[in-house]
Amino acid sequence: MKSELDEASGQHTTGHEWDGVKELNTPVPLAFRVSLWLTIAVAVIMWVLYPSWPGVADYLKGTAGYSSRDRVAEAVADRQALRLQQMPEFAALDIYDLAEDPTLEARYAPAISVLYRDNCAACHGRDLKGQTNFPNLTDDHWLWSGDPGEIEYTLQVGINHTSDDTRWAQMPAFGDGMLETEDLLSVVEYVLQISGSEHDAARASVGADVFENNCVGCHNDGGIGGYENGAPSLVDDAWIYGGSRSTLRETLQYGRAGVMPGWQGRLTDEEIKKLALYVLWAGQDGPN
């Protein structure tokens, strides 16, 4: 049981012997040992500087005063300040003044498109053209008017959303005992007529009276729509849910209450202004 010098390797053996087999006791290379002790030293320094050991009622907070939550709050504030610096108009001006500046679109639309894609494109599409159930933003057909302030307000509070001050717009389910089936079908023909589609003229004239008695409160005389109720115009060829006979019947039968989320709280005031303007530009640039 004695350590021996192994001549072939120049190292000592462990001193153990198993049926004539001996084991070398080569030490770990110096660099490994040094780095092991170094990492331990670094760990001790980190314990001192940063939050580390839990105590009974608290934890060791460290002398560097580091907090990841403080750090991220600073980083977010810094970035917001930088954005304001890069796009100062959005903090300084209100939405009406912003809408009147024709130079903004060329300068800022590419930057705002990122914000749009991250928050709005899921429903309204990357091209802003919307899809079934989600309105097209590139035409000039508006539900709550194309007034910049109204667009901004819709973005803030949403439509039929969970916030207390949300816009409220509901197409009632007229099939739920409010209209006889015959009347309901006549209204469908009338709406087809005023929107310029193929229709049954006799039924449409009956439908006109039913419309007069039930629908003008929101959709206005002749179905031109009403901004104060968020009721869409029925005389154009733009549809949210579809303008076919069967879809119109479904809409009248079961009603509609589309939801637009409110973004107050999720986005900053400046971001909401940016998006309102972006939507406004799309409506101005698109086909009327």
């Binding site: 839990p54 009622a57 939550r69 750090r71 991220v72 977010v76 429903c123 709280g265 999720r266």
Partner: protein, 243 residues
């Protein structure tokens, strides 16, 4: 010539004690922080146990493996906070057993997805994700709209959750099945009862666009629309809850 290590190696009892000591360190580091959990979980307003319908939706979320592609953890990084909102709090996972933090984002983080999209969008997107997100690799889950929600396991689920610390009351457990059905039925006239029982931030409506039935889609969308909406950040004291 013998080193301290060699001496220790030859002392059976001493070596066993050293092994025990070193091995116990691992356990200590995992267990000791649990004794100070009150320091970790922030005091917040609005956090509440999940309603039975939300629990059912959460079970579907776990069953379908949503956590494999979606995280529910907004980290304290600017890029995360910029995109997803306020960083996640420990308090927001305190009724999660197990938590759904996840470890990988093939899809976006969902910790604050509640209220970001409409129910209609969630249903249509779950049915066919590529209708809405070009190039999405998310599978379609249209069968959820066809599958009636099985409410039978809910009472047992709530009992199990209570056993691991979620403060469900006896009354909540007794009415779990009916609570789940009525949260998805705006005409049941039950919103007040549910809000009395769970809290004012319970959302009651038909989530899946099929007013006459309660499906797994109702449960999943109810769960998604709740995510990240419970804590009242207006009353959250960031200073006092610094970590």
């Amino acid at each position: 010539m013998s080193t301290p290590h060699q001496k220790l190696e030859r002392n059976g009892m001493g070596f066993a004690l050293m092994i025990l000591f070193v091995a116990s360190l691992g356990g200590l580091f995992e267990i000791a922080p649990l004794f100070t959990i009150e320091n970790t979980v922030e005091e917040v307003e609005g956090m509440r146990p999940y309603t039975p319908l939300e629990v059912a939706g959460r079970d579907i979320y776990v069953r379908e493996g949503c956590y494999a592609c979606h995280s529910q953890m907004i980290r304290t990084l600017r890029s995360d906070v910029d995109r997803y909102g306020h960083y996640s709090l420990a308090a927001e996972s305190m009724y999660d057993h197990p938590h759904q933090w996840g470890s990988k984002r093939t899809g976006p983080d969902l910790a604050r997805v509640g209220g970001k999209y409409s129910d209609t969008w969630h249903v249509a997107h779950l049915q066919n994700p590529r209708d809405f997100v070009e190039g999405s690799v998310m599978p379609g889950y249209s069968f959820l709209s066809e599958t009636p929600l099985n409410t039978h396991p809910l009472e047992g689920s709530l009992i199990a959750l209570r056993r691991v610390g979620v403060p469900y009351t006896d009354a909540q457990i007794d009415t779990a099945m009916v609570d789940a059905l009525r949260q998805a039925d705006p005409f049941a006239n039950y919103e007040g009862d549910l809000q009395d029982s769970y809290g004012p931030n319970v959302q009651v409506r038909d989530f899946d666009g099929q007013p006459d039935r309660v499906t797994e889609m109702d449960a999943l969308v109810a769960y998604l629309q709740m995510l990240g909406t419970l804590v009242d950040f207006d009353s959250f004291d960031a200073e006092a809850n610094n970590r």
